[in-house]
């Protein structure tokens, strides 16, 4: 009786979810794939015939350079997020339950403000006559204002600031599942703190690390407004190239191809993530 009543609701939800995925995820991506194999056309943006010119253009050393630089900045961002996020999530899981909820809530609160607005706020802090410089100068720590804005460092600070919660949340999930008896067992069997960390904690939290890396690394390569605002439109990310190709150069196939390569990189990371999860699952935790 109960399941019969629930049936229409279930069907509705499924239709909604599948419809959403089909129309707002699958179809747009299909259009991007379609655009990437079309020919560039000054009049209509894209036209037939189909070809792979856009992908060939991606092999140009220039774009390889941009990609590598972008990857470097995203990797730095991810590393810093990991270094901050790992101990953060660990301590978070150690706090009393009722406080955990509050802390996670605080972690999420900044999301209520648009990331663009928050990036502009960062600019006010980092500017030559901004908050940070005036504070340091009035404390007498520096004589001359530091040049922080419009540097590679500023871009990385911005990316870390925007993406840190995406690292902390999956890590928190795995730390939360980490059972104390495993740690105690490890200790009882003679492992010191360090080897417990290396042989028990790290492998058990690895899926969280990978999930966090995935959620930080790829978005970090695409957030084009961060280098635009904090990097002075220098230090291009792949996202900037995609935006420039669509808007300025009006080379849609190429912009689409670049975005597909980024998506494929994401898919590869997800695949690696699944693989690692399965491996750990098989070892029978």
């Amino acid at each position: 009786m109960r399941s019969a009543r629930q049936q229409p609701f279930r069907t509705a939800v499924l239709i909604l979810v599948w419809g959403w995925l089909l129309f707002l995820v699958f179809t747009p991506n299909l259009l991007v794939v379609g655009a990437s194999v079309m020919t560039r056309d000054p009049g209509t943006f894209i036209s037939l015939p189909l070809n792979l010119d856009a992908y060939r253009q991606l092999l140009n050393p220039l774009y390889l350079e941009v990609f590598l630089h972008s990857l470097y900045m995203a990797a730095m961002t991810t590393l810093i997020c990991l270094l901050i996020g790992y101990p953060f999530a660990w301590s978070l899981s150690k706090v009393a339950r009722q406080h955990q909820v509050l802390l996670i809530f605080l972690l999420i609160v900044p999301f209520w403000t648009n990331s663009l607005v928050r990036t502009y706020a960062l600019k006010l802090i980092l500017a030559t006559n901004g908050l940070l410089n005036s504070a340091l100068m009035s404390l007498g720590l520096i004589e001359e204002p530091l040049q922080m804005l419009y540097t590679e460092g500023a871009v990385i600070i911005g990316l870390v600031y925007l993406l840190l919660p995406f690292m902390i949340l999956p890590l928190y999930a795995v730390f939360d599942d980490l059972r104390d008896d495993l740690l105690r067992a490890s200790h009882d069997l003679g492992a010191g703190r360090f080897s417990t960390f290396i042989h028990v904690i790290v492998p058990l939290t690895l899926p969280g690390v990978l999930a966090g890396v995935m959620l930080v690394l790829l978005p970090a390569m695409g957030l084009f407004f961060v280098p635009d605002i904090l990097g002075g439109s220098r230090n291009l990310l792949v996202g900037n190239v995609i935006k420039n190709q669509f808007l300025d150069a009006r080379n849609w196939p190429f912009g689409a191809a670049a975005s597909i390569v980024l998506t494929l990189a994401m898919a590869f990371l997800m695949f690696a993530h699944r693989l690692s999860k399965r491996r750990i699952g098989e070892e029978g935790v």
Binding site: P145, L149, G232
Partner: protein, 346 residues
């Protein structure tokens, strides 16, 4: 196919938003900080037509949006610069302007109407004109700065700002090398690129949102700026000076155009007439610092504005001045390639 899907989505979105009774609104698509709020308020007050104001920060972005949204008629009025008028006209994106519905057209400067970009102004009505020149913060820069070439001076290392506009930045380098800012010759463009790579270590930032801001923030001391931005910037930074470089300033004219499928062309015509009133044109020029092509308004301007060389250059200032023209798609790709190489630091 993409266009169709997009149009469908938009149509769904639009019908979702608007009620059954469609109120008359004017969808104005304009550059950011390019129309005083007071003008919009007074227009609504006078005609009862609310204005929905949307902004862009480059001709390219505006063009792409208008072209994509062609069928959905999202905008009633847009303000492309100089050569984009001819480009959009030739691509059949614009609706002819019904001169019988426009009052005050005769007040416009004869030198700024009936240009090559739109013979006889069939599709466009000049709104404002301006220049892109040199900004110098005299508090931090010693000695005189008179030319674009001065940007390359090593004492400005790390203190230079350029607009985030591919054509304008290349225009500067091309002029420094003695070429036309509208060059389509790949060798000249490459030479300009080589020249710009020498400038890159000095460049602190690119900015086309509000080019006065890096000067006000204390990040840069010298570089490119739009004249209106220089005028507005002086309010916060009195030592900001606008310089007409010897190699020639970059000039542009922004005009009202009505997209072909505009939903409310009547309101668009009404708005153009409203802005062409001498009193309104003068108010706009005084408020945002760009020059009005409306000669009747020039007489109403405040003395300090009318005599401000930054807004209203004299004849010597305009020696060597060059308007941007459409360089065609092939040259555009060459520029785009070198622009990306420049930005990625190769």
């Amino acid at each position: 196919m993409k266009k169709l899907a997009l149009a469908t989505l938009l149509a769904v979105g639009l019908t979702g938003c608007s009620g059954s009774e469609e109120p008359q609104v004017l969808n104005l698509y304009n550059w950011s900080e390019y129309m005083p709020q007071e003008v919009l308020d007074r227009f609504t007050e006078e005609t009862g037509i609310p204005v929905v104001y949307t902004t862009y920060d480059s001709n390219e972005a505006m063009y792409a949006r208008l072209k994509l949204l062609d069928e959905s008629a999202a905008y009633d009025l847009a303000v492309p610069s100089t050569y984009y008028v001819s480009k959009m006209r030739q691509e059949d994106l614009l609706m002819p302007i019904d001169r019988s519905k426009i009052e005050g057209f005769d007040n416009l400067d004869p030198e700024l109407v009936n240009l090559d970009i739109d013979p006889d102004n069939q599709y466009s009505v000049p709104y404002l004109w301006g220049t892109t020149g040199l900004a110098v913060d005299t508090a931090d820069v010693d000695g005189e700065v008179t030319a674009w070439a001065d940007l390359w001076d090593e004492r400005f290392e790390g203190r230079v700002m350029l607009t985030n506009d591919m054509r304008e930045v290349f225009h500067v380098a091309l002029r420094v090398l003695g070429y036309s800012g509208n060059s389509t010759n790949p060798d000249e463009i490459e030479a300009a690129y080589e020249k710009l790579t020498e400038l890159m270590p000095s460049v602190r930032t690119f900015n086309s949102d509000a080019p006065r801001m890096p000067y006000l923030e204390g990040e840069t001391d010298i570089g490119m700026i739009w004249n209106g931005e220089a005028v507005m910037g002086r309010d916060g930074l009195p030592t900001l000076e606008y310089v007409y470089p010897a190699e020639g300033i970059i000039a542009w004219l922004d005009s009202f155009v009505i997209p072909k499928n505009a939903k409310n062309p009547d309101a668009a015509h009404q708005f153009i007439s409203f802005v062409l009133q001498p009193e309104i044109s003068a108010l706009i020029s005084e408020d945002i610092g760009y020059a009005t092509p409306n000669l009747a308004a020039r007489d109403l301007l405040d003395e300090s504005v009318a005599n401000d060389r930054a807004s209203y250059p004299n004849a010597t200032d305009m020696i060597n001045a060059e308007f941007q023209t459409d360089i065609g798609d092939e040259a555009l790709q060459v520029y785009a390639k070198y622009w990306e190489m420049l930005k990625s630091g190769q």
